[in-house]
Amino acid sequence: MISRRDFIKYSLQGIAVIAVPLTAIEIINPSKLFASKGAKKIRWGFLVDTEKCVGCGFCVKACQNENEIPYDINASRTWVERYVLTKDGKVLADSPKAGRDGFITGRIELGQGKYQDIKNEDIEKAFFVPKLCNQCENPPCVQVCPVGATYQTEDGVVLVDRKWCIGCGYCIMACPYGVRFFHPVYHAAEKCNFCYHRITKGLKTACVQACPFGARLIGNINDPNDEVGRIIRTERVSVLKDEFGTKPQVYYRGLSKEVR
């Protein structure tokens, strides 16, 4: 038989244990603690200046060589789009061979072997827009991967695990920017990864290095002294398809609303 004294003692102890909030016994997470102290991690960001781009395509050529993307396939980790807006309101856009050989004629490629000639005097505005993976803060491609083969590193770059990819193509469908494709040799999803092997060694990406005009810049946007970070914070920049909520980390200068 339990004595009255013990019954009250155990009851009070029990209540005290139950009353301890769950948060008080949460195991301290060092990385969370570190983050809350304001110590900022690396976050790779990219800046494209569409005013400076001349459509030479050296970036695409360098990217394809550096990352071993076969020339013949109709896909590329990065590409350059040309937008031509005519005075009668037409919007024409093309990217022949991803812009790898540049834009050497004024003819616009319409696809299926068709071309359209535009007279110079009919052009209202025309410009080039380089595209690449946006390394989104909320990457939909990572979200949909059923096997965990694509992922985001701590410094914000989205990578593909070639050994783990089953080739289902969900990520290719999920990317609002169309940056993903199948690698014909490795039979896995392929995408721009900001030349992860270069940026982690302190080098610039192959495309940034190859651009003669400074139309492409890469940097750690969490670094207060970084040029890309400074421009993003202090100047007028925009991103592609902001409404998708993916928080893209490729910023554009001089973007026009016709660019999608």
Binding site: G102, I104, F127, Y151, Y196, R198, T200, A210
Partner: protein, 158 residues
């Protein structure tokens, strides 16, 4: 008491589950699991980052060229073509001069026309580059037959 005809298939099921769990230990890599950003964004094999960090760097930048080819380097630096990386025309250096011993030089007409085919686009810096109409300016002939890409001013004509 359950009968043996209930127990036997149950044993088989338990055996299969156990087999799958044992196989999982060997098949799933050690780094695989839920990482920082939780199941939605952080479910992957962390060890795979190492694979991407190990990819070979092929483009070494003009700084890699300037010591051995200092004459070429310093002369082109005096010209508007100083902004173009050596490797944009000479190809990725990789481990040159060991591998490859010789680099392939792209002297094609298309290489020059990337910038110098005249496209007078408003709102693009392309319009500011001096250019030609490739259909009218000596079609079919390599630009380098007359122009020196390392000395692109018209005084440098061969």
């Amino acid at each position: 008491m359950m009968k043996s005809h209930v127990w036997r298939p149950l044993y088989a099921v338990i055996g299969i589950v156990a087999l799958i769990l044992i196989a999982r230990v060997f098949v799933v890599p050690e780094g695989f699991g839920v990482h920082e950003r939780g199941y939605m964004y952080g479910w992957y094999n962390k060890a795979d980052e190492g694979f991407w960090k190990k990819v070979t760097v092929k483009y070494k930048s003009s700084d890699y060229c300037k010591d051995c080819h200092s004459d070429k380097y310093s002369s082109i630096m005096q010209t508007p073509h100083a902004i173009i990386q050596c490797e944009n025309c000479h190809g990725p250096a990789m481990d040159h001069p060991e591998n490859p011993a010789r680099l392939f030089i792209d002297k094609s007409r298309g290489q020059c026309l990337r910038c110098h085919s005249r496209l007078p686009y408003p709102t693009s810096d392309r319009a500011k580059i001096r250019g030609i109409d490739p259909d009218k300016h000596n079609p079919g002939i390599e630009c380098a037959a007359c122009h020196n890409p390392h000395k692109p001013s018209l005084e440098g004509l061969k």
